[in-house]
Symmetry: C2
């Protein structure tokens, strides 16, 4: 179904480099840097897990509730995705982590035999639920399914992730707003509140950040103590600190003083603008241990990913390709297209001519996509999700080629969307 | 993705029988009877069209709006389906038959390169829309999309179907209720009204049937005159007559006096019970020309299909596998299962152990299906639609084997659902 087109970078790393040939693993995760870019802090690498390896920089599609929405695992593979992300929060609430454990873990449950990463559930508990209490033991929130009160803390989060059995699991951290709400304009404030819940009167941002920092460090110890499957699952720590660079540095020092298989940058893209995302990532990524994979959580648009890769980030996840795909929005190298737009009614071209995704290479036209979305047909979201995930995987292929060749000019030439200044060209 | 299991009948007809080898077509459709069952009126055959051939008896999944809901064409093929059905009524309203013609026809539009059959749009115009007028020129109804008044008559129906470009197209017929509403009990009457619209006071069923009969014969002539693509598209006539066997015989005589590439039995399974369906089909099918394919429209459950095949029917279509699949209902050889049922929450078995559909052979468990339906995930309808279509294709494989071997005992042994007496065993 998926054919690599001429010009796209073939997956040759494993064939070309003897030191990356399969061998028995010495732990739950191994990371080799294959090539260090001569022109930026970007690196080309490979991560190995017990469920297979993936090339870095890597993009992980999001399979929230144990399914990348609308796609079979075969269809996810056909986009070139090598690792996916599941949300512990959703799987905890339904069908429950113990039910999944009884089925042999989430790989077996959803029939994805490649690497999986689960988040800790903390971010969703903060951002999606009515929070009744946050204290030193964690978060108590109301289930959106049956109204039951659920407690999530470091021990329970790790227990859930042990039950799910993903290859990479995340520390349970305290997630404060990244930006002082009093400094936000109205629209950004609304966005931040939508994601993080309403800000209380008398909220002291500096105090909240400091508290979250200290607590996240204490919780990391508790996560490590609770982790019962250290031979099979790699626990990543998460650096917080919002947009306060001193606090980011302190967080890196505290979190990275614990020897872990990988580290993540959290609390980014939670309401602040693209310039601040970039500033924080460019400051923080190079501080993380060089020999460990670096994961930037929940980011993002194409230019955010490229900037982060150039700062030394190795792993990304984002709901954009699937969420926007379900809403009829197509990512292309020149910007986004709204497939519901009437102007596509007679457009016989593929979503993006030259794209090698299953939808474009399968010959489905913009007119057909527009019809499917107009008629509310499930196949629209399915085809567009495949296209959009493949879009991000093609970006990663071209990024990896740029690193290997120490030349980013081809990337900028082939991806006009990277040259847009914050406002994507939309169709 | 789809592997034929041991015991399933391979598609060997084309290999074994020299007279079915590909050759240039003498018209839009050819039909060869390969084997006549020695124990019933059933026949094994092959229909050839310009978009390829399909074995008969054949089951056609329904792709109403130019998509078998939730499935890519590859996924439809993976169920073993060789021909699909599209609804002219839906495609006329959206995106419009002319728009599809501009895209090269419905095969190209939906990227299904195998045989396609379109219905005339008449049945849906009668059953789904507010009918404002039925007269000698056709039906005028209100579009459910934009409220526009639409006229559909023999000429326009054929024009639409010429524009869509399916391999088999259907005559535009007058569709009266098949049963006198005054003889129906309350629940069947409601069902019939739901399908055919409310019955008017003073409704004279015998008169309405006679009128529809005469009109359908007149309209067939007009359809033939309007048909502009006789070299590419085979026009089938439709026999009506409700449950009045004399009228059925008269309809057969009138319709089949016109030389057409195939004939259909219409007005069945529109509110009457399974016994009446069987009576009408067993009476009507053998009256149709032996050397032409016989198509029973909109039927049905497994036992209805087997009874009709034994009466000499060659083609079937039904929304059951996809519609019920979207609602969480799985067809199995022993009856239907409701995948939302809590009892499946810890059931690690496939939907139907031994089934070779993409969902069962892919190892997706009942517990996972139950989770997907509970969480409202699109993948549930997708997997269950594939299973259910494959269920009907497996039935057709076993039916064709029974015909070839003149032995139906194996079929009845392997398909307990065929022995159920009207009330399927449900999970």
């Amino acid at each position: 179904m998926f054919a690599v087109k001429e010009g796209a970078l073939p997956h040759l790393i494993e064939l070309l480099l003897p030191d990356t040939l399969p061998h028995s693993m010495s732990g739950p995760l191994e990371f080799d840097i294959i090539h260090q870019c001569g022109e930026s802090k970007a690196r080309l690498g490979v991560v190995r897990t017990l469920h297979g390896s993936f090339e870095t920089p890597a993009f992980m599609p999001v399979g929230t509730a144990g399914t990348v929405k609308g796609l079979t695992p075969d269809q996810v593979r056909s986009t070139g995705s090598e690792i996916i992300l599941n949300n512990a929060y959703h799987l905890l609430l339904r069908p429950g982590d113990e039910a999944i454990a009884r089925h042999g873990g989430v790989h077996e449950f959803m029939r994805w035999d490649g690497p999986i990463l689960t988040d800790s559930g903390g971010y969703q508990a903060y951002s999606m639920a009515d929070i009744n209490a946050v204290d030193e033991d964690g978060v108590t929130f109301r289930s959106f399914i049956d109204g039951a009160m659920i407690h999530l803390g470091p021990e329970r989060s790790i227990e859930i992730q042990n039950n799910l059995g993903a290859d990479i699991i995340m520390a349970f951290d305290d997630c404060p707003p990244s930006v002082d709400p009093s400094t936000l304009n109205e629209s950004r404030r609304r966005l931040a509140e939508k994601r993080m819940g309403p800000f209380k009167k008398g909220y002291d941002h500096a105090k909240r950040l400091a508290e979250a920092h200290d607590r996240t460090v204490r919780w990391l110890d508790r996560c490590m103590d609770a982790h019962a499957r250290t031979d099979e699952q790699a626990l990543f720590g998460i650096v917080q600190g919002g947009i306060d660079l001193d606090l980011r540095r302190a967080s890196v020092e505290a979190i990275c003083s614990v020897d872990l298989p990988g580290y993540a940058i959290g609390g980014v893209a939670v309401g602040e603008g693209p310039e601040l995302i970039r500033t924080v990532v460019e400051f923080t990524a190079p501080l993380l241990p060089e020999e460990k994979p670096r994961y930037l959580m929940g980011v993002g648009y194409e230019r955010d990913i490229v900037a982060a890769v150039r700062a030394g980030v190795d792993m990304f996840d984002c709901v954009l390709p699937t969420r926007n795909g379900r809403n009829g929005q197509a990512f292309t190298q020149s910007g986004r297209l709204h497939m519901r737009n009437a102007k596509f009614a007679d457009d016989g071209a593929e979503i993006e001519p030259g794209c090698d995704c299953p939808a474009c290479s399968g010959g489905f036209s913009r007119a057909y996509l527009r019809h499917l979305f107009a008629a509310g047909e499930m196949l629209g979201p399915t085809l567009l999700s495949m296209h959009n995930i493949r879009h991000f995987q093609r970006l990663m292929l071209d990024i990896r080629r740029s690193i290997r060749e120490n030349d980013w000019s081809l990337l900028l030439g082939a991806w006009p969307v990277l040259r847009c200044d914050g406002s994507d060209r939309e169709g």
